[in-house]
Amino acid sequence: MIAAWYGVVSFMLIAYVLLDGRNFGAGMIHWIVAKTPEERRQVIAAIGPLWSWHEVWLVGFGGTLIAIFPRLMGSAFAGYYLALFLILWGLILRGISIEVGGHINDHLWQGFWDFVFVFANFLLAILFGAAAGNVVRGVPLDAQGNFSMAFFTNFSVRGNVGLLDWYTVSVAIFAAVILAAHGATYLTLKTEGPVHDRSAAFGKSLWIAVVPLIIAITVETWLVRPELPRQAMHNPICWLGILIVIISAGALASGISAHREMRAFVCSNLLLVGLLATGAAAIFPVMLHSTLKPEDSLTVYAVASSRSTLLLAAIWWPIGFVLASVYFVFISKRYFGKVSVKRDNQGFY
């Protein structure tokens, strides 16, 4: 039961990374793939009117985390205090930049909000990447299950660690690159004209850069947490995840070279699912690893709500999920197809 809920919570976070990750990605490469004001509106339109729907996955994840793993929520969110507020402010700036940029047809106004848009998306991709690195590396949890972290200490990965060290910084860079590649693949699918061509070309180089980074991160993870690969060996879900990564990477490469944009985008999503699922399964059952004393780590079993509470949540959650999927299918159908520079603004920004 607890393991299943761990799966659900991971799923919600992964869904968020896939959906908002493409917005982060598109945002980071905004200036590179879109040069004229019209092209820049095209990128914003491709992210489309659904950005708040994507963010709901984060809200749903947060709420579910409080309900299912309240002790983890309390410990982790208070411990990551400042980093989380930077994320919240980044999300505020990003949302506002999407919404208000198109309101006034003036190149200074739009140029300013384009800058906020690019900056906020960079900040978010890097912070979420660093957060992922922190989850794998661990945090200085004490025996009461609490921690409070500085932004950085001595950049080492053991003992009294900070938010940033050589490992979490490299995961942050990796996250920024792979999400940029994901965003470029999305823009290739969703746009036409010069934005499409530039996204396709730039996406290709980004994916090539992802390959050595994946290898580097794998080696680094093995150095930071040597026990994780061993645990992963015995976990069939990790094998499944790795299998998904290999297959989708192959299909992604062929999709890009054959200009099959839909295939490339689907595989880009699957690749991220594979990577994140492998990571989530490998660290299970520890949700927060202690860099001070491994036995102080918080496991899912220690932080979960009571069985009856979990059972009750298992009744309404699937209903909510089915409803959310129905809205998504209905609404995605309406927004299917490419966004061009010339279209009227019905359905676009």
Binding site: I66, F85, W316, Y327
Partner: protein, 454 residues
């Protein structure tokens, strides 16, 4: 409020209170305005009259801006449960997390999927689906309100829970938790208050155009709908919802009711103080003008009913800022009474066909729109200050709920950050909404004064 600046709970309360009060300025208009959009869209479908579509197009732009600020200021709310109220989240997360998650799964997904369709999808969707989109957004916003009110109602009047073996709270009965009687009454009261905000804003824009002698078809539409809905909603806020709310506080939180009324000594034939200043040091209400027996009647049904006083309860269960609580409550009631009178008069004048020519009344309507925001805020201050010193009434104290590992410096830093960011956000919002109102619903610039029908 314990105003010791070295007390971490103080800063976390201030930050939560500030970010929540600011956030709620936006959803109250979203929830109030949503049904105007649904109504006009429905009228447009039924009559085919283009003026209703024009109204929807105009108000949707304002709705969209308002919605966007509501979304971005809403996300920090949920996260602060973990960042600033970690001990509370650990203790009660198994209960309150359920409705916070449900809000996302059932309400926000619905709302956010269709908001884009409502704002930009008129041509793509066609009139019927566009109407459905407006309806979906309205339902989603009201549903999200319900889940949040259930969460708050649990903190006011905990039901349906049990204390697990590890000492933390879990759900014993989901139906008891979701159907908390406190939630129903507070929800009804709160939603009517949101409608008051919506109708005052609609009426204010109508009055603005009427005074400028522009938009001759749109402005009467806004004035008529705004004043009529405003009258009905203002009345319902007071009776029965506000009345029931006060009775509920009297039954379940008698010490809160005593503090709200500045009633230091218990007894029968309790009066309602129209004016008066609570004097905590001397434990009495200074310079009161009272309606004798009114409080006994309102709270318990007869003039002779016994109403408890603060003296009957230990001081450590008194709300910790009685002055602020007392004034919030009394100001809210005063404003609510004025709303009924103002909207009653405006509806009457409109019915006589005189509203368009009563410049003085139009001026008042135009300038009155901030006051429902103030009244809503005062209402929530009454509810939340009245709940003190408890975080969950009778179960868990506020001073036990904040995050022990977060330093005051951290919280002050983020509070200052929010203050700056929200100030800029507010300016931006007012500028862009002002621009839309100035631009008007499409007939603003072209209409000259002499074309206005008298």
């Amino acid at each position: 409020m314990n105003s010791n600046i070295y007390d971490p709970a103080f800063w976390s309360r201030l930050q939560f209170g500030f970010t929540l009060t600011y956030h709620y300025l936006f959803p109250q208009l979203t929830m109030g305005l949503a049904w105007f959009l649904v109504y006009w869209k429905w009228r447009a479908l039924r009559t085919g009259d283009e003026k209703y579509n024009q109204a929807v197009r105009f108000w949707t732009k304002i709705f969209g801006l308002n919605f966007a600020v509501g979304v971005v200021t809403g996300i920090p709310m949920e996260f602060q449960f973990g960042t600033n109220w970690a001990e509370f989240s650990k203790y009660a997360g198994g209960v309150i997390g359920q409705t916070l998650a449900m809000e996302g799964m059932f309400a926000f997904f619905l709302e956010s999927a269709f908001i884009g369709a409502l704002i930009w999808g008129e041509k793509r969707l066609g009139p019927r689906y566009h109407f459905m989109a407006a309806l979906a957004v309205a339902l989603g916003s009201w549903l999200s309100g319900y889940f949040i009110l259930v969460t708050n109602a649990f903190m006011q009047h905990p039901v349906g829970y049990r204390i697990e073996e590890n000492g933390l709270l879990g759900i014993a009965s989901m139906s008891a938790y979701l159907l908390n009687p406190w939630a129903w009454i507070q929800y009804a009261h709160n939603q009517m208050a949101a409608l008051v905000t919506g109708s005052f804003v609609v009426a204010a824009v109508g009055a603005f155009y009427a005074l400028r002698r522009v938009c001759p078809t749109q402005s009467p539409l806004y004035l008529k709908a705004g004043t009529l809905v405003g009258l009905i909603a203002s009345f319902l806020v007071a009776f029965p919802t506000g009345d029931q709310q006060a009775k509920m506080v009297g039954n379940h939180q008698p010490v809160t009711l005593a503090a709200m009324e500045g009633r230091f000594v218990g007894g029968p034939l309790a009066g309602v103080a129209l004016i008066g200043q609570p004097n905590i040091a001397a434990k009495r209400l200074d310079n009161p003008i009272e309606v004798p027996g009114a409080l006994s009647f309102l709270a318990y049904g007869t003039f002779q009913s016994y109403v408890h006083g603060l003296d009957e309860y230990p001081e450590d269960t008194w709300p910790d800022n009685i002055e602020l609580l007392y004034y919030s409550f009394h100001l809210m009631i005063t404003l609510g009474t004025i709303f009924i009178l103002l909207m009653g008069l405006a509806t009457f004048q409109n019915w006589r066909g005189r509203l368009q020519s009563s410049n003085w009344l139009l001026w008042i309507l135009m300038l009155a729109f901030p006051f429902p925001y103030i009244a809503n805020t005062l209402g929530w201050m009454t509810a939340e200050l009245g709940r003190q010193p408890w975080l969950i009434y009778g179960l868990f104290r506020t001073r036990d709920g904040y995050s022990k590992v977060v330093s005051n410096g951290d919280t002050i830093f983020t509070l200052i950050g929010f203050t700056g960011l929200y100030f800029v956000l507010g300016l931006l919002f007012l500028y862009l909404v002002g621009r839309e109102i100035h631009h008007g619903p499409g007939e603003g610039a072209v209409v000259k004064a002499e074309e206005v029908p008298q």
